[in-house]
Symmetry: C2
């Protein structure tokens, strides 16, 4: 193989390892990923797999990265053309709920799982999870600031409070869908979201 | 040792294994519990520890049981004398938030962690987690039904919606406290709770 072809093959192998690891980690958690099991699932050698990542931690970080891209593509991009401010905030919130409902990851949102797994484990994976959560929160806050500036929400609105409560609606929907298998959860969350926004428009 | 003394010693050993396992599992998750590590931490042999539980699953179920008792004692009992209905519902909700704030378990609420870990793993542990969640939800619903019967909340109140949203406030508080180390979270949750109850009183 020419060096160029072999680099392309390596990239492809790496991408298929990560794709499989993302799906597995959404079910078992990032800590539940094992190099051995993953290698068996993919029909490659353990040392071959380690050659791509070096450590389990490097694999976990690559999984978060890939999951972040999927999240962005599935939640943000479909509504990116919505007018900024309140319309986009509402559209993103609904898209976030729809992403849970559509089972984009086989075991539920990887970031919800990773936040629980790593909240008490200092290190690069925790830092990465917190980084994703913070950037996402910032996007949401930004739309709410645009909404108050444009008079779409009351100037008394506390954007951090709204994002805090929206996150709660997403987390309770995730738990209701996955633990209770309650199909009513997204409807309940949308109802609460509309009340939250109506209150922010009028307070 | 007489059989009676030896049974008492066995009970005591079992209790200290479970206590240690509860603290560990709140940080590492129930799947992160390992018989070997726990035995080392407690200075007993692996086979001695297995003698008390037989399997890791039996240990996990014992941990949930002990965590359930702690939860009940820390969240429910302090407010059990509050008048039934809305006063007790509010008191329980505040007690639930305070339990998160007080770090009753070193790694956060064990049930929040277990719900994420086992939502996609069918079996006795998932059944137990779902059982605890369902019984807790039933207690909360019962207080809300009492509240609507007593005219403390509007007859149009949907108790399941209120419990769904309260659960969201608890989950977002848990994430904000543990992942973001945000000390404002309980205050934000209390503010949202009051608005939720005011809305249920007037709808």
């Amino acid at each position: 193989m020419s060096p160029r072809v072999s680099a392309a093959v390596a990239r492809q192998t790496r991408a298929s390892i990560v794709a499989r690891a993302v799906a597995t980690a959404s079910v078992t958690g990032l800590e539940g990923l094992t190099i051995g099991r993953l290698a068996t699932d993919l029909g490659i050698s353990k040392s071959g797999l380690l050659g791509h990542f070096g450590t389990k931690e490097a694999l976990q970080l690559a999984v978060l990265d890939a999951a972040g891209e999927i999240f962005w593509r599935e939640v943000w991009e479909p509504v990116a053309a919505t007018p900024a401010g309140l319309p986009r905030f509402r559209a993103v919130a609904l898209s976030w709920l729809s992403y849970l409902e559509r089972d984009v990851f086989p075991g539920g949102c990887l970031f919800v799982t990773a936040a629980i797994e790593f909240d008490d484990r200092p290190g690069p994976v925790r830092d990465a999870v917190l980084g994703y959560a913070t950037r996402w929160q910032r996007e949401l806050l930004w739309q709410l600031h645009r909404a108050t500036d444009a008079g779409q929400l009351s100037p008394d609105t506390d954007p951090e409070q709204v994002v805090f409560e929206l996150t709660g609606l997403v987390l309770t929907t995730h738990q209701a869908l996955r633990l209770r298998r309650d199909p009513q959860a997204p409807r309940r969350a949308r109802q609460a979201l509309e009340r939250l926004l109506a209150q922010a428009a009028s307070c």
